[in-house]
Amino acid sequence: MSDIEVADKGDGKKRSKKLSTKVDMTPMVDLGFLLITFFMLATTLSKPQAMELNVPAKTDDTLDQTVVKESKALTLILASNDTLYYYIGIEEPEVGFVDFSQSKNVEPIIYDRQKAVEAQYGDKDELVVVIKAMAASKYKNLVNILDEMSITQTKRYAIGEFTEVDSMIIYDIIQEE
């Protein structure tokens, strides 16, 4: 690196040129950033994200199992290919399905149901969402629906077992598809 020297020192005699003490730092900066890049890629900076899941204690005693009133329940069924079926009520169920590849598609259903439950019982937290996963559904669907539970602030939800009754209820709508 050459600095412009002010040669004029008055007497006009040429002095022996002192070697500059400055070192070119550019390669060192290159090296520094190279190492930074390496460390950023090779290490885990952030701690992993986690959701908490509580499941009911296993019991053989059927008396201990919670029975949910039909009028308070909303059943969501996770199926293959990011499809989500839902039904309300059992005797004359209101059945439908949404494309769950965009997980927020399910929000209107939950909000509508919350309003209906609030109108009937005066508290939207009375709603119980029962989540049932079919064997062909993917784990990410389950994570997404649990995530939606926290987004819609649904306090009461449970993961239930997909049964014959459920498959009969959604059978018609699968046929129509």
Partner: protein
Amino acid sequence: MKRSSPSIDMTAMCDVAFLLLTFFMLTAKFRAAEPVAVDLPASRSELKLPESNVLILSIAKDGRVFFHVDNQKVRMNTLVEMGKLYNVTFTDKQIQDFSLTESFGVPIAQLPSLLDKSPEERNAIVQDGIPMDTTGGKRNELSDWVHLARVSDLQLSSTGEIESKGIRIAIRGDGFVEYPFIERVIETLQDRKINKFNLITTLKGAAGIGGTGAAEEESDE
């Protein structure tokens, strides 16, 4: 007119670069070598997994289960106890190697031969996952691993050898694994009366849409 030199003094920039480098080296932890790739699902939960005393069950896309305990002492103790339970003897060297093995997924009968292999050889073989089937009176190995890891954690923390407030159990499942595989792991945990655990996810890109984190996620059932 005096022309200023076009070259810039890089010393300051160099200082910054090495300061950052030092910061990264001190704060970051090396990514553990995983025997299997897991494509995590995304969620908007902002809860963080604790750094220490965690037991992670990784579930690969094809349903194989891998076992991971971060504390080395707990890991060694668990292996010794498992050896007693299944009548598998481990040499001191194998136990030492196991304490350096971050994660594994083989039936316990195959574990000694896995531990004899060098890390490169281990990467080359496909691990079958920890068996959970109980057909023909077999024990559920995953269940025993989880149980003995908890017992070891409790023992070692009561004697003051490690500092722990109970081991935290987390499931690290691949987003594309089919639900029955996850269900089986959850049932295994339930059978051991573990009804509270974490699901490891990545943060969903779309920030600021509603998500309030996992604090309110606990249901009262």
